[in-house]
Symmetry: C2
Subunit: 406 residues, 2 copies
């Protein structure tokens, strides 16, 4: 959002150094956003600043290790070859994720490369928060210890499936974990060695992995509705490359759009929520499978023509279409990205879903709704959590350079 007047420094104030701060960000962004290494001159061309100004800013960013000078590579150019620049590979962030089916930890550097990761499958539906977070903390600590020296971690993030309070790092409600009112920071921070900890909703953070190919570098899509099918159904609206937070950061809860107000009661208190039609448990039950059956088994049955399984998935697709159509009408974001289990089932969902959407979305007359699939990532929340930390760094490099220069 190109809104002015709001930002890291607040609605007001426009002191002198803010010009430099802003330009540091522009330069860092330009490098991060480019798909191939830019030279100083390239940055100047992209940003509109002069070469001399860029040069000075780049030098400072290199000293702060936010940028690296790469080895000059031979290109088919005519003049003096530039020194290619890239986001600093010695600056990284830790991303963590708690999901009903697994724990994950991942370290990602400013270039978006996964430096190290761990993944443990575990059944965490109705788990004890303290025990689970202790496990996650231990996992994270081991991962951090295994890192090469010289790598600076700038922060950590945790992705959790539920309603979270970002400000005080609490999980207010995570029904699929059986958690309510859990202070994640308190239970985890001690194990992270003083690393700043951010918390976020799983779908919001997973959506980042679609919005950004690497920290600061916009992905193919800038505006889309991410639908995270895990055990429940979460979601996030991405607008202009940024996750739309809403008032408390709880936007995107499409799992609780009402598909039929006379439908079955949902544990959220409402009736006929999408989750009651397209949630994992609901679909498995409709397909005549036990609640702990795998998605793969369901999809196998669908593809082999099992009528109950096919009926279940078709009902889910229709419900999904009805709910998403309402969401698209409200948000005017005619692009859907399926993630989690829904991504695995995309091939069987897509035709029905697109038909339903095109029939129900008001703007479909001027452009069809596109249904896309999220890139395959076993723990997209962890990736997104790390990217969120790095994104904050890219958004305000000056704030990170002054306190600890060098």
């Amino acid at each position: 959002m190109t809104v002015a007047g709001t930002g890291p420094s607040g609605p007001y104030a426009a002191r002198r150094p803010s010009l430099r701060d802003g330009n540091l960000r522009q330069v860092l962004r330009a490098v991060a956003d480019s798909d191939e290494p830019l030279s100083r001159a390239g940055v100047a061309a992209v940003t509109g600043l002069t070469r001399s100004t860029v040069s000075r800013l780049v030098d400072d960013l290199v000293v702060a290790r936010l940028l690296d000078e790469l080895e000059p590579r031979q290109g088919p150019g005519r003049g003096r070859p530039g020194t290619p620049l890239a986001p600093g590979s010695r600056v990284a962030a830790l991303g963590l994720q708690v999901n009903p089916g697994y724990l994950a930890a991942r370290v990602i550097d400013l270039r978006g490369r996964t430096v190290a990761q761990r993944y443990v499958a575990a059944d965490l539906e109705q788990s004890d928060p303290a025990t689970t977070l202790r496990r996650l903390g231990t996992m994270a600590r081991r991962l951090v210890r295994s890192l090469p020296t010289g790598l600076r971690l700038v922060g950590a993030g945790v992705a959790l499936p539920g309603i979270v309070s970002v400000a005080d790092a609490r999980v207010l409600s995570a029904p699929n974990l059986g958690w309510a009112d859990v202070g994640v920071a308190d239970l985890l921070r001690g194990r992270l060695g003083g690393l700043t900890l951010q918390i976020g909703n799983e779908a919001d953070l997973a959506a980042r992995t679609v919005a950004e190919e690497s920290p600061g570098r916009g992905g193919r899509l800038t505006d889309f509705l991410y639908v995270s099918g895990e055990v429940g159904i979460g979601g996030a609206a991405v607008v202009g490359g940024r996750v739309f937070p809403g008032r408390h950061g709880w936007a995107g809860e499409i799992g609780h759009i009402s598909v039929d107000p006379m439908g079955p009661r949902c544990r959220c208190g409402s009736t006929g929520c999408l989750e009651q039609y397209a949630g994992l448990h609901a679909v498995l039950a409709a397909a005549g499978l036990p609640p702990d059956a795998s998605v793969d088994l369901l999809l196998e049955r669908v593809r082999s023509g099992d009528p109950a399984a096919r009926g279940a998935i078709e009902a889910a697709a229709r419900a999904l279409g009805v709910a998403l159509a309402s969401a698209v009408n409200v948000l005017d974001i005619p692009t859907i990205v399926l993630g989690g289990h829904l991504a695995a089932a995309a091939d069987v969902l897509q035709p029905l879903l697109e038909r339903e959407l095109d029939g129900r979305v008001l703007s479909a007359a001027w452009g069809s709704v596109v249904v896309d699939v999220a890139p395959d990532d076993p723990a997209p929340g962890a990736t997104g959590a790390a990217c969120a930390v790095l994104g904050a760094l890219i958004d305000d490099p000056a704030g990170w350079m002054t306190p600890r220069a060098g």
Copy 2:
């Protein structure tokens, strides 16, 4: 972002004068946003700039007539009294509105005062676009001619109930007027004497009148969902004081949220849209009234206990609750503002609506959904259209000062 970076000039570029441009905006905003006239020193205190800097910036804004120096008024202060500043009263914009039931034109100055206005009731359902816009144009021209000399109009805006393309000033579809693919700018511009013309959706612009008390001055609410009940049901999501546009500017179409996928067919092509339950024609029909009956008659019957009328309004309230709950779950904006006919019916709608919302909104457990009523304005779209023009001026004063100084 106080400075460069993102803003009117685009995501990149951060030249030198942008600092001054940004500060001009901050100063102008500070004055516009204050509920009582600020002095130069007051602006300095609010913005964090020094008095000397503010003084220079204010002087330029006064020369450009964007600010006025008021008569010094006696206050109970101790030191030298400051010269109170206010947004320039000689700068104004023209706001126009075409509604199924009326035409309106209104001139509003930078202080938010209505300088002049005209209003003509007319039945424009299924009207001819060219004829209607010619009428509106004539009305506007007469209004402009009646203005006092010395008032500078900086632009015009038109509010229309339908899907509009802002970029090329076309109405793509306005079913309640019977319009499709109408080039509003071409039909109107000739009558406006070269005034720049913006076009906007009625609900989006009406929502501005709630978000802003006067141009640049935030209202009581900064985040809310505006529901415009005219003949159809439009809507707009306001986030951080700004209307959320979506990809094409068509966000907020809550009239076409699906309340019951098995419900009656809507003219949009979908089934069970909110408009089929809570739209004016639907409610009148359910109450056993003719389609051209007035809202007042309906409400009178409801209040006098007519069972059919009461049943109709209750059904509408429930449908509205179901649809708005979905919208709130997607947007996380737990404040609803009722406008248009819905505002008139607020007292009978409110209890049922709030009950439905609190039962269906996920976040209701941490804070009830508030249902509010828009201020009474016979043509809120016209007001909002004028404010939109003035808002653009306030957002970029530098752009308006350089071309024509003095």
